[in-house]
Amino acid sequence: MTTVDNQPVLRVVDLSLDYLTRQGPVQAVQSVSFELGRGQSLGLVGESGCGKTSIANCLMRLLPDNGQLTAGQVVLEGQDLLLLSDEEMRHFRWRRMAMVFQAAMNALDPVYRVGQQIVEAIEAHGVEETVADARERSARLFRMVGLDPQLMDRYPHEFSGGMRQRAVIAMALACDPAVIIADEPTTALDVIVQDRILRELKAVQQELRMGMIYISHDIGVVAEVTDRIGVMYAGRLVELGDTADVFRAPMHPYTAALMSSFPSISGEKHELETLPGEPPNLANPPAGCPFHPRCAYATEECRQEFPPQAQRGSQWAACWHPMDGADVVMDMQDKLDIIG
């Protein structure tokens, strides 16, 4: 595990986001707070529509017209991004915080050469003086992510899915950002390619000592690349802790359910649990804990009031009835490594 500086590079405090829709405001993100240390990686997991990508968009301040930040701070290296003007924010973006997009195919502009799109970012932030220097830098980045620099003069459609994803990672590294946000970067890829990309991403992140926020619905992937993990449900962060702790002993029933519904190829074949019901409509969320309609442990207070944080070491969960170690779903002792 990486050593982590004391001073967090990114601090998110009480972040809340609404989308204004015909049905009224939808609370996509509600009071989310977390910290990210230098060189640390934080995973955000949850099902689609739980607000993971909205958080990424809030951090980059790339919200659609109807998105409205209602509260919170995003403090990057001591500067609250939400207080900056649009023009000031523009200089912060990519220079200090970059993003690896979900669909690499679509994140590259089809009409420009891939190298050109990296050079463009370098130009916009004045990281290099001349085109030649910028190209030199892009070539270095290409090598770093395992791409042949000769491919810089190709167009995105000439790349395979894995190559495109690598190019997008290279692009994110163009200005030496302090934090990169990876939003489901391997979702559309096959497992073997995914494995390589993950390894490269992880290696680069550790080599450059960047903070990384890794967003995914696949807890297997998150378990492999992150130091800490945050579980999201219905726009809320419901559990946060060191990855190993959360997997060994989840505190929130939702985290436990998520893990026990995850099929695994290794170890004994455990019974898959089905989480009943559907995630709530965020335009009209249930009172109290948003998970209570689907939770087996729900009591009256769960229905009434949003739960406080229950702490256990560096791990916490927003739950009235946090689970203790005995409830561990995945017993690590059972897991025989059948491959290695």
Binding site: L62, R93, W94, M99, V111, E120, A124, V131, A132, H157
Partner: protein
């Protein structure tokens, strides 16, 4: 790429062949006999009539006439015009085609530029006053009754304000003592314009090779310089005032044609922009911290351009039709006016000739658009 062009040229030849066939049989199908039109024309002497009959095979059966007609068309022999006797159709059209091309090309270029510029602006700031104003005025002009609108333009700018000539190609009073013909001056004007376009293109190309950031203004400067130099050069030739007269006659028809056709491009660009603005690469461009103008122009608008270019074919056809009407109203002696006159005077050889050339013209426009698209979309360019 070359394979594509060859294929496209083949298709074009086939389409042209079909257009010629179509006009031939339409003329045959109309009530009345083609041969008797020649026979009844009092302008044509009897021996010439016989000669024409023989060269067009008018006394032979229909299918042989068709073959002769095909051969004649593709060797450039469209026969003799009734109305302009004894000038051959080819000569009449050869004189008038460049005038149509100029009218059409300049109007198309200006309206495309204006339409694209406005379209991307109203999409980028959606829901503003500009959008309502541009949409309503654009759509009204686009669907306006062209002849009435053209007459209104003449009434305002030529009659009431007296700024511009009423119509036609030139003012005979100015040209009375001139030693050069209008066609001569006009062809030199065309040459100048062509040279300027080449120069502008080279200027763009050259600055792209410099390889330093922030050289975007250099080509603009160069092109501006060229634009100033040209009138000065013409002033020294001594016939500049004649060229100016032709130019003055061009302004109103071009402006009218531009006004009625820019909205097509504008509204298309708007929709296309609204779609590309949702694309991830536009979001990515923003995330990269590029200035808004760069995001809009280099990413959103550049991609929005592609479907607009595809639909440019329709706008071009619209503009060709528009120029036929505009030429009619402004008495601008181009192919469109020729067609109208020929139709009115039942000058059938000229009708066929003009129709074939208008068809050829729109086919060429079609092919140019296709090539442009291939050039602009790397996904197709490299396949």
């Amino acid at each position: 790429m070359t394979g594509y062009l060859v294929r496209r040229a083949g298709q074009m030849a086939l389409t042209l062949f079909l257009i010629v066939t179509l006009t031939f049989f339409l003329v045959q199908a109309q009530p009345g006999d083609y041969a008797t039109f020649y026979a009844l024309n009092p302008d044509i002497p009897a021996e010439v009539r016989e000669q024409i009959k023989a060269s067009f095979g008018l006394d032979k059966p229909l299918w042989q006439q068709y073959l002769v007609h095909m051969k004649n068309t593709f060797t450039g022999n469209f026969g003799v015009s009734f109305g302009h006797f004894p000038r051959p159709v080819m000569e009449v059209i050869g004189e008038r085609l460049p005038r149509t091309v100029v009218l059409f090309l300049s109007a198309t270029a200006v309206s495309f530029y204006v339409g694209f510029f406005l379209g991307k602006a109203i999409a980028w700031r959606r829901g503003g006053v500009l959008e309502y104003a541009a949409t309503i005025s654009g759509a009204t002009l686009f669907t306006a009754f062209t002849p009435a609108f053209a007459l209104m333009m003449i009434w305002i700018f030529a009659f009431k304000l007296g700024w511009l000539p009423i119509g036609k190609f030139l003012d005979p009073l100015i040209w009375r003592g001139a030693e050069v013909s209008a066609n001569h001056i006009f062809s030199y004007m065309l040459l100048t314009a062509g040279a300027f376009v080449v120069f502008a293109f080279l200027a763009l190309l050259a600055t792209r090779k410099i390889g330093r950031f922030g050289t975007g203004r250099v080509p603009v400067l160069l092109i501006g310089l060229g634009a100033v130099a040209i009138p000065i050069a013409w002033a020294f030739t001594g016939v500049g005032y004649l060229a100016l007269d032709i130019l003055r006659h061009m302004i109103l028809p071009i402006a009218t044609l531009t006004l009625i056709s820019f909205a097509g491009t504008m509204l298309l660009t708007r929709n296309s922009m609204l779609e590309t603005m949702r694309e991830d690469y536009v979001m990515a461009a923003r995330a990269k911290g590029l200035p808004e103008k760069v995001v809009r122009d280099r990413h959103a608008a550049r991609n929005a351009l592609l479907p607009v270019i595809t639909s440019l074919v329709y706008s071009l056809i619209f503009a060709i039709d528009g120029s036929v009407i505009i030429e009619g109203v402004f008495s601008w002696p181009g192919t469109g006016l020729t067609l109208l006159e020929a139709v009115r005077s039942e000058d059938l050889p000229l009708v066929m000739g003009a129709m074939v050339f208008i068809g050829l013209f729109s086919l060429l426009a079609h092919v140019i658009v296709d090539v442009l698209y291939v050039y602009l979309d790397p996904r197709i360019r490299y396949h």
